[in-house]
């Protein structure tokens, strides 16, 4: 871990100016949003600013430049505001601004459907600005202020369509959880810096905490950043709040804001806190594995398209946390190169997830914009009506299911390689935990593929199940540009992963004390994470061979035999099937899996009530699913808080004598405490 060379350079200054521009745009937008082309201008301004930020941070990252810092004398007089641009921050800036660029493109296209632009556009700009600010913040005060800014602007965006009851409930839960998260972060940073410490990150880095205090800080940071990222069991707000916001904001929240939370976790745990003990990695591995499995099982039970995508965010955050846990374990076991591998796997997945989650949310948003339906049971057949969106959503589904040759597979593969190195770790607990976590990861990957077959099949394939689906039309051209750009990025990251790994690998040295071998030097663009004899993967070769095989087969058959096609009604074993209600719905597709996994996990029960002969009423089928985390964790806490509040309420209604008595007793108590401890 090299010494921190920091200098004031241009990249950081440009970035800070752009952020100021974004915040200013937010203020201006409050006035301008009502005008005819107002929203489009604002989105255009955001697009330009984010593009500049993207270019600056990308060039910073690729050059591997030295850290830059800047101290601004605004804010609290004895701290001011510190900003640091190092390689980790540059990578996360790239992710944030990539999301910003694509979301602004979407906004330009979709703003015609937005009914309340004044509630969305100003907060959109400030949301982007705040997220960038969190990544650059380099002292506790700036960090917390930007974090709160980010939470509040996203809350405002969630409440944008506030006339809907569900959205209001989602907003309320989000506000409670966000406040809870900020409170624990506040406690963590305060505990870290201590009564005499400075709050700048540079000063906190130099502190060496005792194990108990470090452990407490770790737990609090995990609660704070974990609740924002969506780690089980603090995930309950995510599937409600993310779908409630407008579609491009959902993409930003799922694809980008959760990553900013991961940035906070990485910054504080890997950078500021010192060498980690083993139990930190055990906690991260358990939480990551449970989140991955639970997230995808929840998603399988869902038939609201956006909520399904939000649950998948929980699953992918679980995968990232598993990678981080492995990195911590290897760092504690002093196996630097393996820690670097796990860390790169986690960061690669951060990038991948932001790409394909944004892609999927834009697709879902496009579908919602034209059909006003989020329920997959009322969609269908959209591949004929929205060809570009369908193609982009297909690429996104293949990517998120970790199938080669796209990018999701590469990060999952790297995580598996890191798991295979772990027998070298001496700790006993890890020897049993890591294969179990590996099994959970494999299980969640297979279930994710199943879930996306369901999502894509029910939404885009088959026949339309409602008139809304029949009347769907393709989206606006700028939305299509955003979708296709993300498709290209997903494919590129899958085929040429070596370049991405090299860009990320520079970060690891300072944080975990090791480095992966340089991928650019490998022959034929293969990636070799550890050793050529150990494992290697060549995305380009796989892609080319598959493409060649498919087209060769098609070409040869057409030449040698025949290319004739005849259209006819579907065979369907000879049944004449005229109703589109007879095809499989999303919940019927998930029924076998619901029966295998859902019976014990969610107490899933199906009830069928058939009319007796002679009755005219319709048959009724219902599936009841219980969320056990909600019932066992949140509801008891809520009841406890309500009870305590009701009891404490009595303090409001005491007589004057009782108030005096209260003060008297407290005073006597403190005096006797003083007497005892002197």
């Amino acid at each position: 871990m090299g010494a921190l060379e920091s200098s004031t350079g241009t990249a950081l200054d440009v970035a800070l100016l752009c952020i100021g521009g974004l915040l200013g745009t937010g203020v201006v937008a409050a006035v301008v949003a009502r005008a005819r082309y107002g929203p489009r201008t604002i989105y255009g301004a955001c697009l330009a600013t984010c593009a500049v930020l993207l270019a600056v941070s990308l060039s910073f990252l690729i050059d591997g430049a030295a850290t830059e810092s800047r101290h601004l004398p605004i804010g609290l007089p004895w701290i001011g505001m510190h900003f640091d641009l190092d390689l980790l921050a540059a990578m996360f800036l790239v992710i944030v601004n990539l999301g910003g660029v694509s979301a602004s493109l979407y906004g330009i296209g979709a703003d015609a459907e937005e009914r309340e632009p004044t509630r969305v556009v100003p907060f959109f700009a400030t949301f982007l600005g705040a997220m960038n600010l969190v990544v650059l913040a380099s002292d506790a005060f700036t960090y917390l202020i930007s974090w709160e800014f980010m939470s509040l602007s996203s809350w405002a965006l969630v409440m944008a369509h506030h006339r809907d009851d569900d959205n209001r409930a989602a907003g309320y839960l989000y506000l409670v959880m966000a406040s809870f998260g900020t409170l624990s972060l506040l406690l963590a940073l305060g505990l870290f810096a201590g009564p005499s410490g400075g709050y700048a990150f540079a000063e906190m880095r130099a502190l060496h905490l005792e194990p108990l205090r470090a452990g407490l800080v770790f737990a609090l940071v995990l609660i704070g950043c974990g609740s924002k990222a969506g780690v089980v069991p603090l995930h309950a707000w995510l599937p409600l709040a993310h779908p409630a916001a407008p579609s491009h904001v959902s993409a930003l929240m799922s694809g980008v804001m959760t990553k900013v939370a991961i940035y906070g976790l990485v910054r504080i745990v890997f950078d500021l806190l010192g060498p980690p003990p083993i139990w930190w990695s055990v906690v991260l591995l358990i939480l990551g594995g449970v989140s991955a499995l639970l997230g995808v099982l929840y998603a399988l039970m869902e038939h609201d398209l956006k909520r399904l995508l939000a649950y998948h965010t929980i699953e992918n955050i679980g995968i990232i946390v598993i990678g981080l846990g492995l990195a911590l374990a290897f760092e504690a076991g002093s196996i630097g190169w393996a820690a670097a591998l796990a860390f790169v796997a986690a960061l690669f997945h951060v990038l991948n997830h932001s790409l394909f989650k944004s892609l999927l949310f834009y697709g879902a948003g496009a579908v919602y914009a034209t059909t006003r339906e989020r329920d997959m049971e009322h969609l269908g057949g959209l591949i004929h009506r929205m060809p570009v969106t369908a193609f982009a959503f297909l690429v996104g589904s293949v990517a998120i299911s970790a199938l080669p040759p796209l990018n999701g597979f590469v990060s999952e593969w790297l995580t598996f390689q890191a798991i295979l190195v772990s027998p070298q770790l001496p700790a006993w607990g890890l020897k049993f935990l890591i294969p179990a976590v590996g099994a959970m990861l494999a299980l969640s990957a297979a279930l994710a593929a199943a879930c996306f077959v369901k999502a894509y099949g029910a939404t885009f394939l088959g026949r339309p199940r409602s008139s809304a689906a029949e009347g769907a039309r393709e989206t606006h051209s700028s939305v299509r540009i955003a979708l296709l750009a993300l498709v290209v990025l997903c494919v590129a990251a899958g085929i040429l992963p070596g370049y991405v790994i090299d860009a990320i690998a520079q970060i690891t040295d300072r944080f975990v004390g090791g480095r992966m071998p340089v991928q650019g030097a490998q022959a034929w663009l293969t990636i070799v994470p550890i050793d050529a004899a150990r494992s290697s993967y060549n995305g380009l070769a796989v892609f080319l061979f598959t493409a060649f095989a498919a087209s060769a087969a098609g070409f040869v058959i057409r030449r040698v035999a025949t290319g004739a096609i005849r259209r006819a009604p579907a065979w369907d074993c000879g049944y004449v099937d005229s109703s589109s209600a007879l095809q499989y719905t999303a919940s019927s597709f998930a029924q076998p899996i619901r029966r295998v996994f859902g019976t014990w996990m969610f107490r899933a029960r199906e009830t069928v009530s058939m009319p007796r002969p002679g009755e005219i009423r319709a048959a009724h089928f219902a599936v009841v699913i219980r969320d056990l985390v909600w019932e066992w964790l949140y509801v008891p806490i809520e009841r406890l808080v309500a009870n305590v509040a009701t009891r404490a309420d009595r303090i409001q209604f005491l007589t004057i004598r009782q108030y005096l008595g209260l003060m008297f007793v407290t005073l006597i108590g403190l005096l006797s405490l003083l007497a005892l401890t002197q």
Binding site: W428, F432, V596, W600
Partner: protein, 220 residues
């Protein structure tokens, strides 16, 4: 030669664990009794191999007892009892089969951790064989706990015995007297249990343990 000896013993012990899992997987009585016969056969092979490697001829007798008694005699007798008492041919479980197997894997992990921590300094394959024997014992216990039918509980008890014999034969110098007494107690227990099953069945028309539970006097 020694390496091959260790490897074959290790493989047979692992085979016992595998067959214990197969016992947990069965859902029909006939198949269960067949797999139990297989369990006893693998035990007999393992004990015979130990007799060969340790050069201890009395273990051949143990192997023969295991083969004759537990692989042939007892399963066929149990099959006759099942037929005569007209017991359900389906094995009823309290928890699902998938969950039972997951708990089984956790039990194997537990026995490995325990044995490897307790027996430091012994040769590595011996430690693993002891761990496997403990695992077979625990899996037999798991089977007794998660089955509702008395016959399958008896089979679980028998596989537990097999685990004990596996552990005993792995260690050197176990005298035959203990073997005969174990076999005798098994035989007597089997006769008693059979008698009880017959009487219970006559009295209550069923050997399902949950039905019998209702007749206990001190039930709250």
């Amino acid at each position: 030669m020694a390496a091959l000896g260790y490897d074959v013993a290790h493989l047979l012990a692992g085979g016992m664990v595998l067959v214990s899992f197969m016992l947990l997987y069965q859902d029909r009585m006939g198949a269960l009794l067949n797999v139990f016969a297989l369990h006893a056969t693998v035990l007999a092979l393992s004990v015979a191999w130990q007799a060969y490697v340790q050069d201890a001829p009395h273990l051949y007798v143990t192997a023969f007892i295991a083969l004759g008694l537990k692989a042939i005699l007892i399963p066929s007798a149990l099959r006759r009892i099942v037929q005569r008492l007209d017991i359900h041919r389906e094995v009823e479980t309290t928890v699902g089969i998938g969950m039972t197997m997951l708990v089984g894997v956790a039990l194997v992990a537990l026995s490995i951790v325990l044995m490897l921590k307790v027996t430091v300094g012994v040769d590595p394959l011996g430690r693993q064989d002891l761990a496997f024997a403990l695992a077979v014992l625990l899996l037999g216990l798991l089977m007794m706990v998660t089955r509702r039918n008395a016959v399958s509980q008896v089979v679980g008890f028998m596989s537990l015995e097999n685990g004990l014999i596996l552990a005993a034969s792995g260690a050197r110098g176990m005298p035959l007297v203990v073997e005969i007494s174990i076999a005798f107690s098994v035989l007597i227990a089997f006769i008693v249990i059979g008698l009880f099953l017959f009487r219970i069945r006559e009295r209550f028309d069923s050997v399902d343990v949950t039905t019998l539970h209702a007749f206990r006097g001190d039930r709250t």
